[in-house]
């Protein structure tokens, strides 16, 4: 009995260490590899600010390091967001964008990018795009929070979220129909998501905001665990369901909005990372699952970003394509091996 307990905790610890090491490995890989190869010895020097090679310095500090960190932070944020919503809706096929966050962001970006010329703006600066995406995403979040206070059934909220998503997508597609070819290409690329072009300012914003949100999510793990038994049981044990609902919608959407603002909608991480964490660790206990999801989300995203960059270099693949192509088969295999449902 006790032996079994140690075995289980031991396995979980081991997996955490393994995932951690893999994450570090992938971060190093994505800094080292690329059109300019950086020998490991030089990397150490560059990181310690001893490097004399200006090219190396610039590539590492201005391009690859912030990009790697952005994918670590973005992946973690999307994964936690997906996990919260999967618990909330008690539905395994829910991801971080299910409440329409990405559609709201996409709509504003579409307005900016596709009608920019008519508005008299020449080339649109990236900070404006990020700000626009954030505004679009947060507008949808506020709308959803307002609605979530009114509806009784969580499923209703899910359907409303999907409908808002459809409306935003519909408007975006109308804009697409009238768009000029050149703008359209850029817009489509944006909708596929990318961590390229991240600067330190953006990384710092992501680190602070994302970090705070993820810590808050972890502080709620006791209530989130109670919610695994459903709202009625949770309430009978003393959980304030109203507050918990608003909290989940707010935190999960804010996390998704944060990533979408800078990187565009990155598909699949929010869906796959929680599953991978659950299935590899064999638990739904959020005290373990939240940190595990953070590490796995970061790990998968960093790997996918790396592959997207180098596979057909110099052409960069959309990260959503890579994450779906790699993640989906893994989730399917893990699911087939399990006897129980999610």
């Amino acid at each position: 009995m006790i032996k079994f307990h140690i075995g289980r905790t031991g396995k979980i610890l081991l997996l955490f260490v393994l995932f951690g090491l893999l994450l570090i490995l992938f971060v190093i890989l994505s800094i080292v590899y690329g059109s300019v190869q950086i020998p490991l010895q030089d990397l150490v020097n560059v990181l310690l600010r001893h490097g004399e090679n200006i090219v190396y310095n610039k590539v590492v500090w201005d391009i690859r390091f912030p990009r790697a960190l952005a994918s670590v932070l973005g992946g973690a944020a999307l994964a936690v967001s997906g996990l919260l919503l999967q618990i909330f809706f008690r539905n395994p096929i829910v991801d971080s964008y299910v409440l329409g966050v990405s559609s709201g962001a996409t709509l504003i970006v579409a307005v900016l990018m596709l009608t920019g010329f008519t508005l008299g703006i020449g080339t649109i600066p990236s900070y404006l795009l990020s700000a626009g995406a954030l505004v679009g995403a947060l507008a949808v979040v506020l709308l959803i929070v307002a609605i979530s206070c009114k509806v009784k059934q969580v499923v209703t909220l899910l359907v409303i979220g999907l409908m808002i998503g459809y409306i935003c997508s519909a408007v975006s597609s109308i804009l697409v129909a009238f768009a000029e070819k050149e703008n359209l290409h850029n817009f489509v690329l944006w909708t596929l998501g990318s961590f390229s072009g991240f600067g330190w300012d953006e990384v710092i914003i992501q680190a602070i905001a994302g970090g705070v949100l993820m810590v808050i999510a972890y502080l709620f793990c006791k209530s989130l665990n109670a919610l695994l038994l459903g709202e009625n049981y949770a309430r009978s044990m003393g959980v304030n369901i109203r507050i918990l609902r608003i909290f989940i919608v707010l935190i999960s959407s804010a996390l998704a909005a944060l990533v979408t603002a800078f990187a565009g909608p990155v598909a699949f991480i929010g869906l796959a990372a929680p599953h991978l964490a659950r299935l590899t660790l064999g638990t739904s206990d959020n005290k373990i699952l939240i940190p595990a999801t953070i590490i796995l989300g970061a790990l998968i995203t960093t790997l996918c970003d790396f592959l997207a960059r180098i596979t057909f270099s110099p052409v960069e693949l959309p990260i959503s394509a890579v994450s779906s192509l790699i993640g989906a088969p893994i989730v399917i295999v893990l699911l087939m091996k399990r006897r129980t449902s999610l």
Binding site: L219, K222, N225, L228, L229, Y233, S236, K287
Partner: protein, 399 residues
Amino acid sequence: MNVLQAKELAVGYDSRTVVGGINLEALKGQFICLLGPNGSGKSTILRCLAGLLAPLQGSVFLKGNLLYRMEPKELSRTMAVVLTERLSPGLITVFDVAAMGRYPYTDFFGRLSGEDIQKTWEALCLVNAHDLAERYFDELSDGEKQKVLLARALVQEPEVIILDEPTSHLDVKHRLEVMKILRQLTKEKGITVILSLHEIDLALKSCETALLVKNGRILTYGAPEEILSEEMVAELYDIESANFSNYLGGIELRNSGGTRVYVLAGAGSGAPVYRLLNKFNFSVITGVIHENDIDYHVGKALGATVISEKPFEEISAASLNKAVILGQQADCVIDAGCPIGSLNRRNVEIIKQLLARDKIIYCLRSKQEARRLYGADDARLKYFPTIVAMVEKLNARGR
């Protein structure tokens, strides 16, 4: 002092009242059961008593405090629930599900102390689910899940447990096990149990107080022995094709009535014969049977015509004649092989007279016994080793 009290309570959703005028007083260690047809509002009442649904009118008091003013933590330490909804909590072990009941006692992060772990084990042992502790909850059968959810409720250390149809979907073994555990809780731990049931017999055999709910009101309220009469049960469930028998503690089905069969029975020899005949839509006439005989109650409950005699009286000439006449009119006569003693010895006369009137008798006795009782060996006595063989023959004849 009462633990839970409802005063002029009306429950429902939005502005639609489902059940009104509920007055209920639950004492410490009392076992209270809600009976009523599907959709009568049993669950709604329970949800309201559990504080999961606000009352439309009236109020609920838990140990003298207004339920809806209570702190969630305080409430969850006093009352626990077991609901009907199906759970799939994911990859969570049975132990962890049960341990979630410690929610109102654990710290901010929900860490389990030594005491919490011990309390969880105690509850799992009490419901005989300790062997399941390391399994995933989702892998269990319905019966096992129900026991674990009961353990989870116990882990909350409540004074009141509210259960919504805890025996639905369970097999006989688990159903009895759950009821046994609940009774144990009321008697040994003084926990008040309020539940809804679909099985009238279980309610009759385990609860102290029953609350009959129908058409948006409480029909009646009291000890099941007193209130669960045949008429009340028939009214409660609008049953026309079956009868409830308070003595038997169960339901007997009735049929629309077909070929008339006269059965000579008594001392329990008739019950299985009646039921089998009933299943194949024969209409049963039986007698003469004493009113203290089990066959009398079974026969009455399934709607047979019963020619009866007062308890411990010898069979009167009038009853005997009536039996002979009805036996003569019946399409078929069965001798169920009842024991013959001093008080019912005149029953032998019935068969003798029917034989004399050229009736064919389907007999479940041995040849020697029949010869001894009815005198001469008779070609009109047809012998069958089992009831089933006999009813098969009857059916074949009917076609």
